[in-house]
Amino acid sequence: MASLRDIKSRITSTKKTSQITKAMQMVSASKWSRAEGNAKAFVPYMEKIQEVVASIASGSKNSSHPMLVSRPVKKTGYLVITSDRGLAGAYNSSVLRHTLQTINSRHKSQDEYAIIAIGRVGRDFFVNRNMNVALEIVGLSDQPSFSDISDLAKSAVGLFSQGTYDELYMYYNHYVSAIQQDVTETKLLPLTDIQPSGKLTSYEFEPSAEEILEVLLPQYAESLIYGALLDGKASEHAARMTAMKNATDNAAELIDSLSLVYNRARQAAITQEITEIVGGAAALE
């Protein structure tokens, strides 16, 4: 059995750890509520742009804008959103595992895909495996603004237009609730699944539908990336909050059981002392 002092020091260190995890939990909770607010603020923009894109794209059926047309796939792009830091439970590992499995099952050689990594954990993961990372961005703030990501989004869409890859998938954790985040795969480009959302307005186009699509579609694709990033950030903070809550709970449990062991050991020591004193006194008689 461990000595009293050993147990005591384990209890103290567990307590200190739980103070840290508790603090991290509270920090994540406040970041999470802000991230959720950001994701909500983005919704009106997304809905509006979706509505306009849908009504223009479905209005001009024969439009041959390159971003709307599927072409033979020679190379696939994967945009993976992870966090910069760990300690967020299964947040990063689940999305990375999913992506890696998909890539391994779909492609045989390095030349068939390119990875766009958002977040340090994902970047390091793919670089360590010598996979083809075409673009990367690390060190995004916890509340990213559109300008932080616009360069990357522009290049990601640009690579598609230049024909570097012929389709682009996005992998990220979709935020469902504070305790549930689902790994999601979305096909970003080409934009084949634009569904008209109910009411369609027939617009006049100034100057022409084609020229508007020229401006609108890249902007739409870029905002989809930004939307996924906001979604991912909300998930990240929620995941970290849950992970830290679990850590704090586990620490409390550990402290309870260690205290029990400690008290038992202390009792045993006292009992032994009494027995020794009584034994000593009996020997004197």
Binding site: P44, Y45, T201, E206
Partner: protein, 134 residues
């Protein structure tokens, strides 16, 4: 006077939301003025000012491209960024202008030149609006 609802929305959230009598701005195809009851219209915008007239007063908003969607009762402007005149940081805009001008003079490769050009346009637009030179 009749009014039309205007909302300016960016990825970082709504910037402006109010009733106005007239919206005028610069579209890719030229100056554009919208009064209430306009037919549905979509037009891409230049990096320019959006002028919102209401009760003899005019408000200016710096819009960084994007596009304008008009319906009879509502005008929506979707841009990647937009700032009201009051919230423009003049010092920052001037710094951005100087930076862009320097980049243009250095003349590196083409992509950088286009980007610097755009950055310069944005900065000039912001400065003009902050100083109300329109």
């Amino acid at each position: 006077m009749k009014t039309v609802k205007v909302s300016i929305v960016t990825p970082d959230g709504p910037v402006y939301d109010a009733e106005v009598e007239m919206v005028s701005t610069k579209a890719k195809s030229g100056e554009l003025g919208i009064l209430p009851g306009h037919i549905p219209l979509v037009a891409p915008l230049e990096i320019a000012a959006v002028r919102l007239k209401n009760g003899g007063q005019t408000e200016y908003i710096a819009v960084n491209g994007g596009f304008l969607e008009v319906r009879p009762d509502v005008v929506t402007i979707l841009a990647q960024s937009a700032e009201q005149a009051e919230s423009i940081d003049l010092a920052r805009a001037q710094a951005a202008k100087a930076r862009a001008e320097k980049r243009l003079q250095d003349k590196q490769d083409n992509i950088d030149a286009t980007r610097a050009e755009l950055a310069l346009q944005r900065a000039v637009n912001r400065i003009a609006i902050a100083e109300k030179k329109y």
